[in-house]
């Protein structure tokens, strides 16, 4: 069995030490730090990109929130304007209605006064006619008539 040829042990051990030691030095000092740098750069880059994406998302959210706030404000404002317009129109309508009513009431008052005057006048005529008629009827029946008595009798009846 060549594995038990003891005279080959020393050269194998010598070269194992040299080669393994050299390999260790090159890997530990040169190769592995380079790999570590590349991996770290990539990790940092990914983390940065994720951070940036997160930031963009936050900005988007903020923009959406601002838009919604503006929309709500605009709605409130529009509602306010509509309410104010409605109030103003109501007020004006009320005022016009009142002035028209006042005018109408005035006209009604004048008309009523005219009616009352006309009625009074008419009633005054009725009294004269009634006295005349009564006087004429009494004169026809009795030959003469007391005009004052006829006036009294008509006044009594008209009361």
């Amino acid at each position: 069995m060549p594995q038990l040829a003891f005279e080959t042990f020393v050269p194998q051990l010598v070269w194992l030490t040299i080669v393994f030691g050299f390999l260790y030095l090159v890997l530990a000092r040169v190769a592995l730090p380079r790999v570590a740098t590349v991996l770290e750069e990539r990790r940092d880059r990914i983390a940065d990109d994720l951070d940036q994406a997160e930031q963009f998302k936050r900005q988007t959210d903020e923009a959406i929130a601002a838009y919604e706030r503006a929309l709500a404000e605009a709605r409130a404002h529009a509602h306010e304007i509509a309410q104010a317009t409605r109030d103003r129109l109501n007020e004006e309508t009320e005022r016009q209605r009142k002035s028209i009513e006042a005018r109408l009431a005035e006209k009604i008052g004048i008309a009523e006064k005219q009616i009352a005057a006309t009625k009074e006048k008419a009633l005054g005529n009725v009294r004269d006619v009634a006295i005349e008629v009564a006087n004429a009827v009494v004169t026809e029946l009795l030959g003469n008539a007391d005009r004052a008595a006829a006036e009294r009798a008509v006044d009594n009846e008209l009361k």
Binding site: Q12, V35, V38, L39
Partner: protein
């Protein structure tokens, strides 16, 4: 034994399945008294390390924000070992990340390079796997005492065990701890050696039975194809097992039970 087979086997079984594990000196070298000859094993260690370094450096060369295929392999292996350490040891274990990464990639590269025909499998030698396992064992033990002081001895006294059982349990714990480097190294070495030996034996069958005609030779060839796939899986799996057991030992040293 092997040479005898080769000599007496004749046309029937001329292939020695253990021949592939032989260490051949390519350039004799000497550092003082130490024999540091550059062997076929050294060559494949160098190739494995070169493959790992080449893959890692070319893969990460572009430093692309969106990785290509090669960079994905590099990054996935990085994340794989980092997650293994995080899951099994916690963030305190990330100090040992370069070591575990080197260990995993080196063993994986050695195992996979060994799957190439005519190549040599570094990890099929017990001395290599044992050296790695023993280094881990010593390192983990020093780490345990450094972190917990003498309190690390309590590691051998499990919680909730009745006192009268302790004389039995503590020696078992100590022995199981001391055999860690053996089990760790033998697991890798035996898997590699057995797998490659089986492949070689079946390859011998293809030649031996193929000499009787094409049909008898096809059967072991089909087995060969299946076994080769299995061996690639084992090569990756054993590298993973070695790395994850190292993580578990590190966790024991850092956090006890």
């Amino acid at each position: 034994m092997a040479t005898e087979n080769a000599e007496h086997g004749g046309g029937g079984f001329a292939i020695d399945p253990m021949h592939q594990f032989e260490i051949k000196t390519l350039f004799p070298m000497q550092f003082g008294n130490i024999d540091a000859s550059f062997t076929n094993s050294s060559l494949f260690m160098v190739l494995a390390a070169a493959a790992v370094i080449g893959l890692m450096l070319t893969g990460i060369n572009r430093r692309a924000m969106v990785p290509g295929r090669l960079q994905s392999i590099v990054e996935l292996s990085y994340e794989f070992i980092a997650n293994m350490l995080r899951d099994n040891v916690g963030t305190a274990g990330l100090r040992f990340f370069p070591f575990v990464f080197t260990l995993f990639t080196f063993i994986l590269a050695c195992n996979l390079l060994g799957m190439i025909p005519y190549s040599f499998t570094v990890t099929s030698h017990i001395i290599v796997t044992f050296a790695l396992a023993f280094f881990i064992f010593i390192g983990v033990t020093i780490l345990g005492f450094a972190v917990h002081g003498v309190g690390f001895m309590k590691f051998f006294v499990p919680h909730g065990v009745p006192v009268y059982l302790l004389p039995l349990v503590v020696p078992i714990e100590v022995v199981s701890y001391l055999t860690r480097p053996i089990s760790l190294s033998v697991r890798l070495f035996a898997n590699m050696m057995a797998g490659h030996t089986v492949l070689k034996v079946f390859a011998g069958f293809v030649i031996a039975l193929g000499s009787f005609g094409i049909a008898p030779g096809i059967v072991p060839l089909v087995f060969m194809v299946g076994l080769t796939g299995l061996e690639v899986l084992v090569a990756a799996l054993q590298a993973y097992v070695f790395a994850i057991l190292t993580c578990i030992y590190l966790n024991d040293a850092l956090h006890m039970h």
